[in-house]
């Protein structure tokens, strides 16, 4: 029942996204191409270094490229499914717009899972990621197999969960401090811009920090290394465990924050509609 509802809502939001394309093609093309160009530019630097030095820290050129493609796919899935500030949840909370979510006749999580769905305008990054990954895989021998593809899809899903959880955890601060924390997700989310950086050269302490409390390495480097056989395949199980831990933490913080919001509301807007 809930699954049907989610698919139905995705279908509605998908149609609205297509309508935007038909209504204003120039703007649509501009935003989609821009999104893809910014993301590709963000990973181009790392690839150029890899191309110049024939790899980075034990990873070959195409292995680095695979990692960059992975990172683009993770960011692309987020921009496809969690646009309109859903990923930057502190803006919705901080601006008092959780009211709109709460009055919907459906669970909060269903609204948050569906209202940011932009399959056409948000897919530029995802398509670039699929293209880059496919090209990289075509140049790496003896890697692609059915179990590999299943593991790849699973890992990407786990990286998306970790990235979303990290953003939502920080975003929960906006329940208590709507003004001060309104843009906190912008900073937390911008860490995903660093997801294409390999951590091979980092010393142990920094590496562990970036694989736990500051999960930059979990967005692409850590799972890519495991998928390509450059680290233990058990690391995929570890990734799943960390994703589960993040999910539990975000559920705890977010539901507590939401309870606070339900009791206290938001004081961002004056009666006249101006924002404080």
């Amino acid at each position: 029942m809930v699954a049907r509802r989610i698919i139905g809502l995705w279908s509605v939001y998908g149609r609205m996204d297509v309508m935007w394309l038909l209504k204003d093609f120039n703007n649509f093309a501009l935003y989609t191409v821009t999104d893809a160009a910014i993301n590709v530019a963000s990973v181009a630097g790392i690839w150029l270094i890899a191309a110049r030095f024939n790899g980075i820290g034990g990873m070959g050129i195409y292995q680095v490229l695979f990692m960059l493609g992975y990172s683009l796919m993770v960011n692309g899935l987020i921009s496809t499914f969690f646009s309109f500030n859903v990923y930057f949840i502190s803006r919705i909370i901080g601006r008092g717009q959780m009211d709109h979510v709460l009055i919907m006749p459906q669970p909060v999580w269903v609204t948050l899972l569906t209202e940011g769905f932009t399959p056409v305008s948000g897919s530029g990054v995802l398509l670039s990621g699929i293209g880059v990954t496919t090209f990289a895989l075509s140049r790496i021998d003896n890697l692609v197999s059915v179990p590999f593809v299943i593991a790849l899809v699973g890992c990407i899903g786990l990286s998306v969960i970790i990235s979303l959880s990290f953003s939502f955890m920080w975003g929960s601060l906006a329940f208590y401090s709507p003004v001060g924390a309104e843009e906190v997700c912008t900073s937390a989310g911008s860490l995903s811009w660093l997801s294409g950086f390999p951590l091979n050269g980092l010393e142990s302490v920094s590496k562990y920090v970036m694989l736990s409390v500051l999960p930059i390495g979990l967005y692409a480097w850590f799972p890519s290394m495991a998928l390509m056989g450059l680290s233990s395949s058990l690391n995929i199980a570890l990734l799943a465990f960390i994703a589960l831990a993040y999910l539990s933490l975000v559920l705890f913080f977010f539901t507590r924050g939401l309870k606070h919001y339900v009791k206290n509301g938001s004081y961002r807007y004056l009666d006249r509609g101006h924002r404080r």
Binding site: L48, S177, L191, I216
Partner: protein, 275 residues
């Protein structure tokens, strides 16, 4: 009779107004909340650590005949310390996006001058919260950022100043076109500009370390005069200092002529959107 005192009295109000603009912009970013305000600097700090670690990893693996690890680390850290100056982004595109640009045209001050003052003001928090801490942390990061000689320091400062001036002109040219032809999408276009300029100017990767001869070609373009030229001079990897400075001055003059022309031409066609 025009005396020094008269000239001083006439220019003082403008200087005071510009000083006010600088002060206003230096404090305004803090109004968005400390988490948002410091978050951006934190991300840049982490990015710098990652870049330094990448250089250590690639040099440990392969090395390079054209530069030493120390030079590349110094280049990267100085670029991170001077990130606002080697990649000048004025407040212009944001004000056009927000619709607040119109007030700049009503004030009895030069429009370019106002944007320059505002941008300098915006540099202050970045200087306090990222540049100075990074410079102080350089021994901990294992990077020696001290200049090799006083001559190098002097030439670097001249080159950096020319690069900053070129950066302002480049930003005004792009904003001048974007604001007229892309309407309210100018902000997103400026984001693309920022992403590519960083790559093409050598602010992220030293140009001579780019593969396929890309760096050789990019060294002649105006982007390189903003970051690559001063940073290469500082690190001591510039091949021909005289030619580099001459190229910088030439591009600076050309860019400013173009900036003045573009704004003069497009000013009457401007529609301020946003709000």
């Amino acid at each position: 009779m025009v005396t020094t005192k008269t000239v001083w009295n006439h220019s003082m109000p403008n200087l005071r107004a510009h000083a006010r603009l600088i002060r206003l912009e230096a404090t305004s970013p803090m109004s968005g909340g400390i988490l948002y305000f410091l978050g951006g600097y934190f991300v840049r700090f982490v990015r710098t650590l990652l870049l330094l670690s990448i250089w250590r990893a690639v040099f440990a693996q392969a090395g390079d005949g054209t530069a030493s690890l120390d030079e590349v680390l110094r280049y990267t850290l100085v670029a991170a310390i001077l990130w606002q100056q080697v990649d000048v982004q004025t407040t212009a595109s944001v004000t056009f996006w927000e619709g607040t640009a119109s007030s700049r045209f009503l004030r009895p001050l030069s429009v370019f001058g106002q944007y320059i003052s505002e941008t300098i003001g915006r540099w202050v928090p970045g200087l306090i919260f990222l540049s100075i801490p990074l410079a102080l942390l350089s021994p901990v990061l294992g990077v020696d950022i001290m200049p090799t000689s006083s001559t190098t320091l002097f030439l670097f400062m001249v080159s950096l100043l020319i690069g900053i001036l070129s950066g302002f002109a480049m930003d005004f040219i792009l904003t001048g076109y974007i604001m007229v032809y892309l309407g309210n999408a100018n902000y997103i276009a400026s984001q693309i500009r920022a992403a590519f300029t960083m790559l093409l100017s050598g602010a992220l990767i030293p140009l001579h370390l780019l593969p396929f001869g890309i760096g050789q070609a990019l060294q002649w373009l105006p982007f390189a005069t903003m970051a690559s030229a001063p940073l290469s001079l500082y690190v001591g990897i510039a091949e021909d200092v005289g030619r580099m400075l001459l190229l910088q001055v030439s591009w600076c003059i050309l860019l400013w002529l173009a900036a003045v022309y573009v704004w003069k031409k497009n000013r009457q066609r401007l529609v301020v959107l946003g709000g």
